[in-house]
Symmetry: D2
Subunit: 282 residues, 4 copies
């Protein structure tokens, strides 16, 4: 397995898409040394975006989390999240009524609009569901799994409404040795049980990448060949980036470890353009 120098790779592209977790951050805070990368992006004026499967908060709150870690160049306009796609869908396709949500109050706040109210599955009364126009899965926190997942199932048996999954990830790292179950896994369980088709947003789906593409500063005057997707996960970042037509760099600082990378690439057939130790510019 040939490793590429991340700085040399970076220099070939005008726009960089970064996955967040495992690339820029981990359960501890920033990936050690990643400040160098932010400095380099700042110095060179390279356009970059954080493209993340996250619907737990809006882009402002996601950006704030970087400020708290001492990074000030990840401003809200640099954030592209699956939650933003879910919000768009609700605003443009569902438009009005009450959206029941699975998640925290903070996650729901972001998807509210003038015409769309939200209601936690926790507060939903199954005998009063006629006004519910959609269901959205936002976060794995903020509700009681024992009672509220069952309530979710029964809501869908009563109402044939659009169901939106705003984060398709199945797990996320909670600490060095522990994973947490993400809302994508809970949504999949309900989907399998009810047998209906949910609407999912998040990498590797191309809609996430077109959304990011349309947000870049010089759009549409940037060729896809000049964009690099940097991620730590073959099935989301690399598969999605490849399919959308971008070059891709797999970094070994998160989900994919150095000793497994070659086997996984061979067994999945998901082939990154480059493999780098991390996204740190040295």
């Amino acid at each position: 397995m040939q490793l590429n120098n991340f700085k040399s790779v970076l220099d070939k592209y005008e726009v960089i898409f970064f996955d967040a977790f495992g690339v820029l951050k981990n359960y501890n805070g920033l990936i050690p040394g990643i400040e160098e990368t932010f400095d380099y992006l700042n110095r060179t004026g390279k356009d970059f975006y954080v493209v993340t499967n996250d619907a737990s908060r809006g882009p402002e709150q996601l950006a704030e989390s970087y400020v708290r870690l001492g990074v000030d160049i990840v401003t809200p306009d640099k954030i592209i999240s699956s939650g933003m796609l879910a919000r768009d869908f609700l605003e443009n396709k569902v438009r009005k009524g009450t959206v029941a949500y699975v998640g925290t109050e903070a996650s729901a706040k972001y998807v509210e609009t003038a015409d769309l109210r939200t209601l936690s599955i926790n507060d939903l009364d199954l005998d009063d569901v006629d006004h519910i126009t959609a269901l959205v899965f936002l976060d794995d926190e903020g509700f009681d799994w024992n009672t509220d997942l069952t309530k979710t199932l029964n809501l869908l048996r009563k109402r044939n409404i659009p169901v939106i999954v705003a984060n398709t990830d199945k797990t996320y790292p909670a600490s060095q040795n522990r994973l947490s179950i993400a809302v994508g896994a809970l949504a999949k369980m309900i989907e399998d049980t009810i047998g209906r088709q949910f609407i999912r947003f998040g990498k590797p789906d191309p809609q996430m990448f077109i959304f990011a593409y349309q947000h870049i500063k010089d759009y549409p005057d940037v060729n896809k060949r000049d964009i690099l997707m940097v991620g730590d996960t073959l099935h989301t970042d690399i598969l999605g980036g490849n399919k959308f037509g971008l070059d891709t760099a797999l970094v070994l600082s998160g989900n994919t470890q150095a000793q497994d990378a070659e086997v996984r690439i061979r067994s999945t057939g998901i082939i990154p353009t480059y493999i780098c130790t991390s996204a740190v510019v040295e």
Copy 2:
């Protein structure tokens, strides 16, 4: 769709296997009129068994639930449950050590043996897992889904041990209009997330039918052609019965409703030998 008279069907067979829920019982107690069927079985001396996906209790406790409803001919030796298969597996293949379980204390009690202790996932300490020799999913109650399903996932990341799913059902009826999520759906979510192969017991798996077959009074002197499987669910009772070589009767008193039966048979390709309104002998 031609409906058959249940009594006429019954009369053609020597041994009857009944599914429990939706056939003999429902959320309210006994299926109205089913006492007639028990009387008829008693009078005619026909051999019968209750073949059920249930690991929440042992056969004694399951039999007691019939006594409480005023039925005394469903004795423990008439009960064949998926929990019994799980117990057999643990006793014969795992043999010793501590089995972590997802379920209630009552469900765990039944799978304990002289050499096998059990430990609720609720009480498990993730830093002390070296003595855990297997994990078994028994019931959807008795633990906190938010914290303990995540703990289950992390246990499996630390220990490559056999995982047994003692009830493969995804839902069960909680009342006339409500379903509950069964332990089979929770186990499937963990299995999909970790990517390992769990060992599942329950209809439609043939092992359940073999087990029942070997328990019949005159085994092995009964031909499979003389056994009838009666159930309300195409994907478990009818598919499993058919595959094992039994004749099958679909009853319309539970999961499969009269107006849907024909469409479902056509779309699934699961074809019962008979269709009857219910298992009530009139």
Copy 3:
């Protein structure tokens, strides 16, 4: 089930995306009366596109097929096919070398570029595969399934290269009562067998809708709310249109028949904005 008048629906939108098979055409030629719709589109100057899962020919050849049926307003620029996406991917991501293809010579011709040669799986020598840089599934015709599908499998065991499926459909209608197996089903069999991740183009994938959206005359000055997707298949046309944020009209002239529509909508949870008998303007 409330049926909508197709003309009234049409009048609400500026741009119309039509699925081809089951909407404009069938195995016999044009859907009876659809000429009225083409006239109406012509008279009103409404912008429209044919958005089709088809990689058997290029847009010029696909447009010609309408001319042969007496329709001259479906010019090549009105055609958006999954084959066009596959061509884009090969040109921009694979770029050079020899692409092995499963399909006819005509289908391959369209994906060739100055730097990309093509080679039929039929002509491929398994002992000389080092120059193969990608594999693409284009059509179910043009090769011997017995020998060449096995050859395809063995090519992929020797070379870890991108695999592109240029039409995800599993079947297509061959006559009033017969279906044919489409290349999407063959590709899925190979993918399941080898266990790798293929790159698929075609509805319901949003990339198909993005591609169509970017081809409309007044792009980007058309709001998605002013675009209607018209299709006969819930799982491709309607699901994909909905997810991309378009309003959708299900027509009952193809895959979905009047008597099944309501049941299928309820059981899949895929909900069209409108249901119309056909796409014929009366």
Copy 4:
């Protein structure tokens, strides 16, 4: 990874179940040295059976293939094949009429009975299908995939009949470096396309193991603990053996290679009781 001596393992068991391909035979003939194992079984009088996913021929023909390789102790009564289960099902559940088959004439001959005629899918006339009472997938040879798989699909659209898959394997080795697509993969493609539930026979399904168990000489006086299943494939031989309650030995002479064994056991969670280089007694 600790390797066990095969002879020492063998000595602990009274009855041995062997997978055929990759354990006793390969594409070249016998596994080198396996004659020693047959001698040892013969000398010690240990009861053994060949438990194989194969429906291409009956047990007599399968036994003959060993005679041709110079082994005379694999008599027809030592062979347990998935084809035998399919035959049983047809005889007992379908009973009469004409069974359409996908496979060779030789494979069909074995499933014929006095009341069941067979008809090759190749010879089937789609306009004359009312007498067809079942469809069975037997072999990947003997028919034209291009035309006959489509015919199979259309037969099932006209007739809702039981469909039996008599060998669930997806591939088999054709030579040292080439795999062939097995009939299990073709059946799965048709099943996915039509959306119905087929009836499958073959390891890892427990029905295969109960069938073998019931064939052993001293049945039912042999405890499952005294039976060893020897196989080269985790997902069929080892998973199925484990679930049925047998001890299992993974050999590294076929599908699972020495360098991959540990990773695969960890990633699948399918844990053999023993790992041996091969089934050769040294």
